[in-house]
């Protein structure tokens, strides 16, 4: 029986922000009378993650992903609700807890800028009290898997973004954290490096059974690594389940692409459903899942069709649709 390592129950984070209009008059008014607005960055979010799972945590900018990860890693104090990670309450920042987690943020760095990453690694060895043999072993593995051989001896400031990211990742993994939070680990990194980092994360998970919660704007990261995804939007949980059934549950439609014989037929396709794309005589329709077979039968019967394909929408499109159709009224208090 696997136990839940990350548990969130009704987690909330409300930021109080000072609000004013632009301009001199507003500046002066705000000196005497401040207006504050409560922004609900994370609103009643509950889920749990089992040991060894890799879960994709998705949402558009400002959805509350980073805020959630910061609360889970103990950097932010929640306004309400409960969290337990590895049996600890994260915001208490007990050293037994911090020794077992890692947080990698694509836009933050822990490595000292002017010296080689290897020196910063040595500091982490001391900080996390890693025995010499274990340190050597992990370091050699990381050097091999992430191809760090040539780059850890150069000052960090001389590294490219991708190289630096690999070093940041290595620095966060030297103590073999049981739980790893990855916030946009492939941000700004080129495609081949993205692949490498992805592969590495998968291997790390398989080898050490680390639990990983990952956010990314690149769907390829998510589809390659995660069987399960959690989607949040405007601080609220929208979906939590297998990546495969996201489209069935949230976007119950299929894409039907037809090649027709002539322009007249191409124009008529629109009568059968919502046209999402048209390229000459090639037209793509979005059809409700339940009606797909009936509509396809009618299409074949009524129009001069050369070719027809039925496909599930790409995951990006599903996610995008989720965000567009999510309720907007209940978001900001």
């Amino acid at each position: 029986m696997v136990e839940a390592q990350i548990v969130l129950r009704g987690l909330e984070k409300v930021y109080r922000v000072h609000e004013r209009e632009a301009g001199m008059g507003a500046s002066i008014r705000s000196l005497f009378q401040r207006k504050y607005k409560d922004v609900r960055a994370v609103d009643n979010v509950s889920f749990s993650v089992d040991a060894g799972e890799i879960v994709g945590f998705l949402g558009p900018n400002g959805a509350g992903k980073t805020t959630t990860l910061k609360m889970l890693s103990g950097l932010l104090h929640p306004t309400g609700g409960e969290t337990h990670v590895l049996g600890h309450v994260p915001w208490k920042r007990e050293s037994a807890y911090l020794k077992n987690i890692g947080l990698v943020m694509g836009n933050r760095n822990q490595l000292t800028w002017d010296i080689p990453a290897l020196d910063s690694f040595a500091v982490n060895q001391a900080v996390y009290d890693i025995p010499e043999t274990a340190y050597r072993q992990t370091l050699n593995e990381l050097i091999e898997l992430l191809d760090l051989g040539n780059i850890i001896k150069k000052p960090v400031r001389n590294l490219s973004l991708g190289e630096r990211m690999k070093c940041e990742l290595a620095a966060s993994l030297l103590h073999r954290p049981k739980v790893l939070f990855l916030d946009e680990p492939t941000l700004g990194v080129d495609v081949s490096m993205q692949g490498r980092i992805r592969q590495f994360v998968a291997e790390h998970n398989a080898k050490y059974g680390a639990t990983i919660l990952l956010t990314s704007h690149y769907m390829a990261d998510v589809t390659a690594l995660c069987k399960r995804i959690i989607v949040i939007h405007r601080g609220r949980l929208l979906y939590d389940g297998p990546i495969d059934t996201l489209s069935e549950r949230i976007a119950p439609f299929k894409l039907v692409t037809v090649d027709v014989e002539n322009e007249e037929a191409a124009a008529q396709v629109a009568q059968f459903g919502e046209v999402t794309e048209q390229d000459g005589l090639k037209v793509t329709l979005r059809l409700p899942r339940t009606e797909t077979s009936a509509v396809v039968a009618r299409l074949l019967q009524e129009l001069p069709i050369l070719d027809l394909t039925v496909a599930d929408p790409p995951i990006e499109a599903v996610i995008e649709q989720v965000f567009q159709e999510a309720p907007k009224d209940e978001v900001l208090a």
Partner: protein, 272 residues
């Protein structure tokens, strides 16, 4: 214990390597360290010359001739350098730009890393300044009289450096609540100039300031080790002097811990 030794050794190595990247900055800081005492020395040398060579405080009976001033300010220059701390400046910017967050993910308090870099700075710069200090000693002919207690200046210097470090760090924590840490720092520096005996030896000050200075933390982390080295602390005042240093250090540590806990709560509620 072994853990802490390893931690400081690793941090020191990195801090020294990092320090050597910025040779020019080190130079500026190091120069800044001896300009102040030299100016005070010049002023007091002129004053003592105008008074026939010696300045005497009639209430305390303390007397300083030109060579005594030279000894006081030269030793102060070195000790002041070894007790110096500048964390308020760096800490405030780390709180404001979120640079503190990566440090908060580590299972040790960030003060240890900062303290290691403070020590690294002193080690590196002292090595560079040694010839300058030696030259100044030769040129200014200080009148140094050591006594049986002069060696006690070493533990007093260590305690003073620790006290100054912890107290400055505590002040720096104000950055959790205000973006104007420099104002607090300004006040601290003003008090420090007078009460730590930087501008003038405390025994030459008017009685009411001197009385205040004697019990303040500023003298404990300022002129106390200097006076001890030069045999200017009467034997019966040595033990109370150490006691005062220890008490202030304990107070500073307790204050640091309390403010740190409250500050982190504040930091983590507004967005780390």
């Amino acid at each position: 214990m072994k853990y802490w030794l390893n931690l400081y050794r690793a941090n020191l190595r990195v801090a020294i390597a990092n320090m050597l990247q910025y040779r020019f900055t080190i130079l500026i800081w190091a120069v800044w360290g001896f300009v102040g005492p030299l100016i005070s020395l010049a002023v007091w040398s002129a004053a003592s010359a105008a008074r026939g060579g010696t300045i005497v405080n009639k209430t305390t009976g303390a007397s300083f001739a030109a060579g005594d001033f030279a000894a006081y300010f030269l030793v102060y220059m070195i000790f002041g350098h070894l007790m110096m701390s500048w964390d308020a400046f760096e800490f405030a910017s780390r709180v404001q730009n979120g640079g503190l967050s990566p440090a908060l993910l580590k299972p040790v308090h960030p003060i240890h890393r900062d303290a290691a870099s403070n020590i690294a700075f002193k080690l590196t710069t002292s090595a560079m300044l040694l010839p300058v200090w030696a030259l100044l000693f030769v040129m200014l002919k200080p009148h140094i009289t050591l006594n049986a207690f002069s060696l006690l200046a070493i533990p007093a210097l260590v305690l003073g450096a620790m006290l100054r470090y912890v107290l400055q760090y505590t002040l720096a924590l104000a950055a959790f609540w205000t973006t104007r840490v420099d104002a607090i720092n300004q006040l601290y520096n003003t008090l420090d100039s007078f009460l730590a005996g930087r501008i003038a030896p405390i025994s030459l000050m008017p009685a009411w300031i001197a009385g205040f200075a004697l019990y303040s933390p500023f003298r404990a982390m300022g002129s106390f080790p200097v006076e001890l080295a030069l045999g200017r602390v009467p034997a019966e005042q040595i033990l109370p002097g150490f006691a005062l240093q220890s008490v202030w250090l304990c107070v500073a540590i307790l204050l640091l811990r309390a403010l740190w806990t409250a500050g982190i709560k504040q930091y983590s509620s507004v967005g780390a």
